[in-house]
């Protein structure tokens, strides 16, 4: 460990280049297992190792990329430890004292919750490799070409549970700068460096030009050295073959850019050769590396998203709803092992503005350890907000931390010795941040002074495990103003001290303040405004409360003394509940109806219609002079692409609601002429797609047509039968597949044979104008055009 750390301070470390292509050049046949082949021909892999060392590599990788149980079993090899040990020994012998990195690649499987491979099984698989490589005396470890953050975690945990050797982890990113699993570089960095990776970076899948950008993105957040091992450009196609065309000169020209971006360790991946490494070494040997710009970071992550907490001017909101306390339905679902409500709560809280989600499953009759694990797994797949693990069960916390595919926040660690003794080591092992809860075996301290002492005591213990102030968040400890009115000023003092003196993030569980009080929402908002004015960083709350707090902010600035704080909060408990927002009085009712159709406001249009009717507008005027022009305007905007499909439909749906209200009131004969026209719609036989047809039906009804919708997969004979029954002139047919659109011809042909005088309009994704004309039918590309054609055909 010391050797590489010393090197990192002095120079840019050079890794080796591609091995696979070199092996093939030296005779390894296509399709052979490189690891097994190298054991049969050790002199060849040794030659490649030496070539890279001769051109200046400081570190060579063992040829053990695929030497795991899953990959080797495909070739009938079972002695995994021996294979790894022997490959490690070959590299050690070739290295002659230079550094050997034990290479661990992906298994090809995805690890739960993203795949079928159980997490602990993955750790075991990698652990097997690690043991073999350790017995060869390797110097450092590299976990590379990882596309799944959970697999990378499993491999890193496997290494760290067996050795404290320097370990690098490099992920592979696609063109969208995310891994196949959807992890971006900063998120991967936050997770992996906190989990104990000694260096983090990227390899493969892209050339140096694209990879420099990733390094630059990561550098501000990294407290470990950064690694880059790009391909020799992007694969190109020539005469039907793909190849990497970036030569050594061009490849090495990016060396300086990498160093300037912050890379500390450089090498080459697919398509590179000893020439590439030689040229790269030459370009960077005199350059001074930029050491990590920071020592720690206040940040959390999920598999796909990270949140940086330090120096954030905005309050971070922790959604509190995933907590069965007081929620019978949620508690019941959790007991039954169902997760739909949890998923819904996650979606809703995210929509409302939560940045993190608190997850608490503690309730009677539940196996908290396994339930918490399952919920963490479900949320890790269906939601991308980082999670806060909220439990008092240390076994549950441990299992949750192990399976969680990111950097979690533990809620919380108090000064109770049995908690501190168990939770601090766990938080350290899994790289979690944690909330310090200032309570002890003696109970809840009422004063700021007592709370401060506990906080400092817990932090002092935490420092022994390597934690810094960036890794903690202090809970101000909110008690209900109903039962402990004197405590709210003390909580605010804690927050203020954290912000100004102790210089750490702070948090409160907001809803505690109003427990047992009326107007809870108002009290919460008021207290939050007070806390924000003191520098609060995070809040566990209903996200809606944060928005309300903004409105109280100005009043809080004047509230300083303890008595004033208590009075301020008590005042909110007496305020009557706010009335519903008044509608825009200044806007005339008919304009509101017009705008509602234009803007697709189906929620309010019924109310506007009632308002218009009550102020004297006739139903006929509303339909003909307001709504129809509005929907026609929508059609125009759609034609110009100023509106797109969802807006068109929203307007149509708003119109439909209005029309349903007004239709019974309309005078007979006062409807649009089209009302008398019946149109039959159907998706043809064999085709089950009907959404386009349903949109057309909606549009036609809005324009006064009577629509007979026969549904989907409708036989030709049935369509003909309905035409005869309704004596219909107009028929609309829809098909989405080339194999089913031929049935349109059958329908039209049958209608001709039967002597039916009707006009056909056809549409659907595969239908074209020329096909329509070949059938003697009109073509409608969309609902707007369908209405236009229907109107012209019915004149």
């Amino acid at each position: 460990m010391d050797k590489i750390k010393k090197l990192l301070k002095k120079k840019v470390i050079i890794l080796d280049g591609a091995t696979g292509t070199q092996l093939q050049k030296l005779g390894m046949p296509q399709g052979a297992c490189p690891e097994i082949w190298c054991l049969e021909y050790p002199e060849i892999i040794s030659k490649i190792h030496k070539e890279y060392l001769d051109v200046g590599s400081d570190v060579i990788y063992t040829c053990s990329f695929g030497a795991n149980r899953i990959k080797l079993s495909q070739h009938g090899e079972k002695n995994i430890k021996k294979v790894n040990r022997d490959l490690g020994l070959i590299a050690k012998e070739a290295a002659q004292g230079k550094l050997v990195a034990a290479d661990i690649g992906p298994t090809g499987k995805f690890v739960e919750p993203y795949g079928e491979l159980k997490f602990d099984e993955a750790v075991d698989i990698f652990g097997e490799q690690v043991q073999g490589l350790l017995s060869a005396g390797v110097d450092i470890f590299v976990i590379e070409t990882m596309m799944d953050i959970q697999e990378a975690r499993a491999a890193l945990i496997a290494v760290k549970e067996l050795t404290d050797k320097f370990t690098m982890v490099t992920m592979t990113y696609e063109k969208d700068q995310r891994t196949l699993g959807g992890t971006d570089p900063v998120t991967a960095l936050i997770t992996l460096q906190s989990l104990g990776a000694d260096a983090v970076g990227c390899n493969c899948s892209m050339g140096p030009q694209a990879m420099v950008k990733l390094i630059k993105t990561m550098k501000p957040y990294s407290y470990v050295p950064l690694v880059a091992k790009p391909n020799a450009g992007m694969p190109k196609l020539k005469a039907g073959e793909t190849f990497f065309d970036m030569k050594a000169g061009e490849f090495s020209s990016f060396g300086k850019k990498f160093v300037e971006a912050g890379a500390n360790i450089l090498g080459g991946c697919c398509g590179t050769s000893p020439e590439h490494i030689k040229a790269l070494k030459k370009k960077v040997s005199n350059l001074k590396p930029i050491l990590p710009l920071r020592k720690s970071i206040s940040a959390l992550s999920s598999a796909r998203k990270s949140i940086i907490l330090d120096k954030s001017p905005n309050l971070t909101i922790v959604g509190e709803s995933i907590n069965p306390t007081g929620k019978k339905a949620l508690a019941s679902q959790l007991r039954q092992g169902k997760t739909s409500l949890v998923r819904q709560l996650a979606i809703t809280q995210k929509q409302q503005g939560a940045n993190l989600l608190d997850v608490n499953v503690g309730t009677t009759g539940i196996d908290e350890k396994n339930t918490l694990k399952e919920i963490i797994k479900v949320l890790s797949v269906t939601n991308d907000l980082p999670l806060v693990i909220d439990s008092s069960d240390t076994a549950a916390i441990e299992q949750a931390l192990r399976i969680y595919p990111g950097r979690a926040l533990i809620n919380s660690i108090s000064a109770e010795k049995k908690k501190t003794d168990k939770l601090l080591p766990l938080a350290a092992k899994y790289g979690a941040m944690f909330i310090i809860l200032p309570l002890s075996e003696s109970g809840i301290p009422k004063t700021f002074k007592a709370r401060k002492e506990i906080i400092q005591h817990i932090f002092k213990n935490a420092e022994k495990f390597g934690f810094s102030k960036d890794d903690i968040i202090v809970d101000g400890l909110t008690l209900s103003v109903a039962s402990h009115p004197q405590c709210s000023p003390e909580t605010l003092k804690v927050i203020s001290w954290c912000s100004k003196s102790f210089k750490v993030n702070s948090i409160i569980g907001l809803s505690n303040i109003s427990f047992g009080m009326p107007n809870r929402s108002l009290i919460n908002a008021a207290f939050l405004a007070l806390a924000k004015s003191r520098g609060l960083s995070l809040v566990i709350a209903n996200p809606q409360d944060e928005k309300k707090a903004g409105r109280e902010a100005a009043k809080c600035r004047r509230v300083k003394k303890d008595k004033e704080i208590i009075k301020f909060l008590e005042k909110f408990s007496k305020i009557p509940a706010p009335t519903k927002k008044e509608s825009l009085k200044s806007v005339p009712a008919d304009k509101k109806v017009y705008r509602a159709v234009l803007e697709g406001n189906k929620e309010d249009i019924k109310g506007f219609i009632e308002e218009a009717l009550s102020t004297g507008f006739s139903p006929d005027k509303l339909v003909h002079d307001i709504m129809v022009p509005a929907i026609n305007k929508v059609g125009d905007l759609f034609d110009k692409k100023e509106y797109f499909l969802p807006q068109l439909i929203a307007s149509a749906e708003a119109m439909k609601i209005a029309f349903e209200r007004l239709e019974p009131l309309l005078e007979k004969g006062q409807l649009d002429r089209g009302k008398k026209t019946v149109i039959i719609l159907a998706t043809v036989k064999g085709d089950i797609h009907d959404i386009g047809k349903n949109i057309v039906a909606l549009m036609l009804k809005n324009h006064g047509f009577t629509v007979i919708d026969l549904g989907k997969d409708v036989s030709s004979s049935k369509i003909i039968k309905e035409i005869k029954k309704h004596k219909t002139v107009l028929v609309g047919l829809s098909a989405l597949m080339t194999t089913t659109m031929v049935n349109m011809k059958e329908v039209i042909g049958l209608a001709k044979e039967e002597g039916l005088d009707c006009r056909f309009v056809v549409g659907g994704a595969v239908v074209t104008k020329s096909y329509a004309h070949s059938l003697g039918a009109q073509y409608a590309a969309d609902g707007v055009e369908a209405v236009r054609i229907a109107k012209s055909l019915s004149r």
Partner: protein
């Protein structure tokens, strides 16, 4: 042949592609913040309904003729265009991705008239994300193959297009054991759930 199952298929919803599919034209379409919020909420809701799964496997090409490709596992595809694509390839990748049934049911329910706007958004999300699922599988196999100095062809074929007839869905369904990821086949060779796509592409040496 070893079939790789991806359950779940961990693909982010390609939001830009969803908007494009719905007809959004950058620089032309005027979308107010309230309507955008609504559409984005529907997209988020769709995420909770998607149950994206995939399956893929490699077959060895035993013989290619002008209009016919003979593969291992006694598979035979008849298509001139496909034979052209696979010329020079030692292997072929068969793949499939499905959105699952839950989102289809939601689309059908909404499109009966209750909430057609949400139905079209769900429909676009399901279509684009399922296609993105195939992209994901392609990227996955490319990353596996690149270590062996091989790569997939950029083009891929689906049954029902060109001269690669829809009947080939039956073979693909059987070989990839798609029933294991909840996909069935109708007598008309339609895959159910309806947002299920299959594709074939070649493996080339780099």
């Amino acid at each position: 042949m070893q079939v790789n199952f991806f359950d779940p298929l961990n693909v982010a919803i390609p939001v830009k592609r969803v908007y494009t599919r719905l007809g959004y034209a950058q620089g032309k379409t005027k979308l107010g913040p309230d309507q955008k919020d609504k559409i984005d909420r529907f997209i988020e809701e769709a995420k909770g309904l998607l149950n994206l799964k995939g399956a893929a496997g490699l077959l060895t090409i035993e013989e290619i003729e002008a209009r016919q490709i003979l593969l291992s596992e006694k598979v035979c595809f008849r298509s001139k265009a496909l034979a052209e694509l696979l010329k020079g390839c030692p292997q072929v990748l068969l793949m499939a991705a499905t959105s699952g049934d839950k989102i289809i049911q939601a689309i059908q329910q909404d499109s009966r008239g209750e909430n057609i706007m949400r139905a079209v958004v769900f429909d676009a999300v399901a279509s684009e994300t399922t296609d993105a699922g195939l992209d994901w599988i392609t990227n996955y196999f490319n990353s596996q193959l690149s270590r062996k100095n091989m790569r997939l062809t950029q083009r891929r074929f689906s049954a029902g297009y060109g001269d690669f007839s829809l009947e080939n869905q039956e073979t693909i369904h059987k070989i990839l054991e798609l029933d294991k990821i909840g996909v069935s086949l109708t007598f008309e060779y339609l895959l159910i759930p309806e947002k299920t796509v299959t594709a074939v592409c070649g493996v080339k040496d780099q």
